[in-house]
């Protein structure tokens, strides 16, 4: 193990590898700053540039850009309320509130520090788990993934909203909306209304942009004021950013819990990386002393999703490298890049190329820290965005959202759906329905249905009785009922 670590270090610290990583970081950050373009987009765009590179150099280039995308996305989530990519939507909830209070620097500092350390945490776990993780990963079959995904939606729905019923409506509506288009068993298109576009169902990017970006843009257009209200502005200083970074060390419990959650969720093949930040946010809210203040600008609400979001990347690499099973859609594309370089991830890959596998963990770790450092340097300048008057910022954001949405799918109808989902987002915000729950339900809906069908076909209805499934249900119930423990205890005594 130690030999592999040292050998991997030697591979990573070659000048050509480091140079390509440094080249990829600003590209990743810029892609992250553009709403609609995500980590998977970054890998897709950059794969053609890696043709002819050595495998490790090319993979370092891709992974560094991929790691940096998340940092850029969290900055737009905090400053503008516009998630750079779907997982950043969880950061919007409290990060944007902090920006409105004139504490954008504080929020950015916390986000960057949590991202960097969370990424490091995930990579350390990755390096140590790679040799031993195979049996554990293989013990999670479709029933466990079904319950895990369902529990993820329930957590967000119940814990992230003022009203649990409205949270559940949002989560279930998200699942229902994800079921439009081709059915996974018979291939019959559902509810497609005769439109070719709807054969593949609703798309994720227009939904995320419409639900989160458009309400904020309309608010800015209506008020014409800057995001940070003039009366609440603090002097922009590096000190503010550093204080935010130090806030992570004041909330170490939340940081570690979120990083562990992120890594574990990243490891589960097929659960989806977007789950981790939402689950970590819900867990942070649930264990806080004053959970009702979440959503009004709590720094823990920034630390939890950011730490878990970056920790999950290390976790997602575990099944990708150890089993050849991608832990997320981005990892699926990365798997394609491995094949282009003539490498076949899986148990054999670990036997032959353990040094490359651990070198990739090094690369993700270094990229996380380096992109955070780069963003620390840029943060002070970027904060000025929150002081641009709304009547100038709003149309620019709208144009970026429209162009970014079109770029993600090359479809004008996607742009139309941004406005439709935007209307839904405005109404949901108005009546306090949980928008992140709807988004997560939508992201996981297809996974939930697929795992349900596979579980029924493989195990029949008794799939709910598998030991790990029962364990997940029990843990989920404990977490969900914990805030109501006194009421539950009272009912128990009466019974």
């Amino acid at each position: 193990m130690l030999d592999a670590l040292v050998s991997a270090g030697g591979l990573v610290f070659q000048p050509v590898v480091l140079f390509n990583m440094m080249l990829a970081l600003p590209i990743g950050i810029v892609i992250g700053l553009l709403p609609g373009l995500s980590g998977i987009t970054a890998i897709a765009f950059l794969i053609p540039f890696t043709f002819g590179m050595e495998p490790l150099v090319g993979l370092a280039f891709l992974l560094a850009a991929y790691a940096a995308v998340s940092q850029g996305g969290s900055i737009t989530a905090i400053l503008l309320g516009v998630p750079g990519e779907v997982p950043n939507a969880a950061t919007v909830i409290d990060g944007y509130q902090l920006a409105k209070q004139g504490r954008a620097g504080y929020a950015i500092g916390a986000a960057l520090m949590a991202s960097a350390l969370g990424g490091l945490f995930g990579c350390v776990v990755l390096a140590f788990l790679l040799p031993v993780m195979q049996p554990v990963i293989l013990s999670f079959a479709s029933p466990e993934n079904f319950f895990l995904s369902l529990a993820g939606v329930a957590f967000i729905a119940m814990l992230g909203a003022a009203s649990p019923v409205r949270g559940l409506i949002a989560g279930m509506l998200g699942i229902f909306m994800s079921l439009f288009g081709y059915d996974p068993v018979e291939g019959v298109p559902r509810f497609w209304m005769g439109s070719d576009y709807m054969l593949d169902g609703f798309r994720l990017v227009p939904l995320a942009m419409g639900m989160f970006a458009l309400p904020e843009i309309l608010q800015l257009m209506t008020s014409g004021k800057s995001i940070a209200q003039p009366g609440k502005l603090e002097a922009i200083s590096s000190r503010q950013v550093v204080e935010g970074g130090l806030a992570v060390f004041k909330h170490l419990g939340i940081f570690f819990r979120s990083s562990v959650l992120g890594t574990l969720i990243g490891i589960m093949p097929g659960v989806g990386g977007a789950t981790a930040p939402f689950v970590a946010y819900a867990a942070a809210r649930q264990t806080a002393k004053n959970p009702e203040t979440f959503g009004q600008g709590r720094v823990e609400g920034v630390i939890a999703p950011e730490a878990s979001s970056n920790a999950k990347e290390g976790g997602a690499l575990v099944p990708t490298l150890a089993l050849g099973i991608p832990g997320s859609s981005s990892m699926a594309l990365l798997l394609g890049a491995f094949l282009i370089f003539g490498l076949q991830p899986g148990p054999e890959f670990l036997k032959k190329h353990m040094d490359i596998a651990i070198a990739l963990a090094w690369i993700v770790a270094i990229a996380n820290v380096a992109s955070s450092a780069l963003m620390f340097l840029l943060a002070r300048a970027l904060i000025y965005v929150t002081r641009v008057p709304g009547h100038i910022l709003a149309p620019i954001l709208l144009a970026i959202v429209v162009i970014g949405t079109y770029s993600a799918g090359n479809s004008v109808i996607d742009v139309l759906f941004v406005f439709i989902f935007g209307t839904l987002g405005v109404v949901m915000e108005r009546f306090q329905y949980n928008r992140p729950a709807l988004l997560l339900g939508f992201v996981l809906g297809e996974t939930i249905e697929r795992n349900f069908h596979v579980s029924m076909a493989a195990y029949g209805p008794s799939f709910v009785l598998r030991p790990i499934s029962i364990g997940i249900i029990a843990v989920a119930l404990v977490f969900l009922l914990w805030p109501q423990r006194r009421r539950v205890a009272l009912l128990w005594r009466r019974a």
Binding site: F45, A162, S163, V165, R166, L168, I169, M172, L173, I175, F176, L179, D183, V185, E186, V188, R190, F191, L214, I217, L218, Q219, M221, T222, S223, G224, H391, I392, A394, P395, I396, L398, A399, V402, I403, Y406, S407, N410, S411, V412, I413, V415, L416, F419, G422, V426, V427, E429, R430, F431, Q432, Y433, G445, E449, F452, H453
Partner: protein, 149 residues
Amino acid sequence: MNRAEAVFPALIFAAVAALLLAGVFAFHYSWTVIAFPFVAGVVVCLLCLLDIFLTLGRLGARPGATDAAAQALSLASLAWALSLAPFVYALGFVFGPAAFLFVYLRAHGSSWRFSGIVAVASVLVTYGFFIKVLHILLPVQPLWLLASW
């Protein structure tokens, strides 16, 4: 709380119920195809009924903190946001947003020079970065000239 709050879950209920009924009686989906959406849809409908019941039961209660925080959006801002669509349709994804930005900024009191700079920057970003650097197939020509979207 007011009765208007019950309208939104009622609309969700109506839309989901209509889709499920259409799936069963109009599209004649097999049970395998409709089963999962049916279960999810029924749960949504039941939750909506519960929400309507709870909302009507709370009529007259004081609004929550976030109710007060939620500000009304003006129809003018909505109209301005939607006006980006005809610009893109008429001028494409490179010049459409630039023209929209120019008109919007001028209409909201920005100077000719500032509006022009923003519009030119928009063209540089969309054409230079999205099309040339990222190789994204953004239609430069007006959408009405394209054979299909």
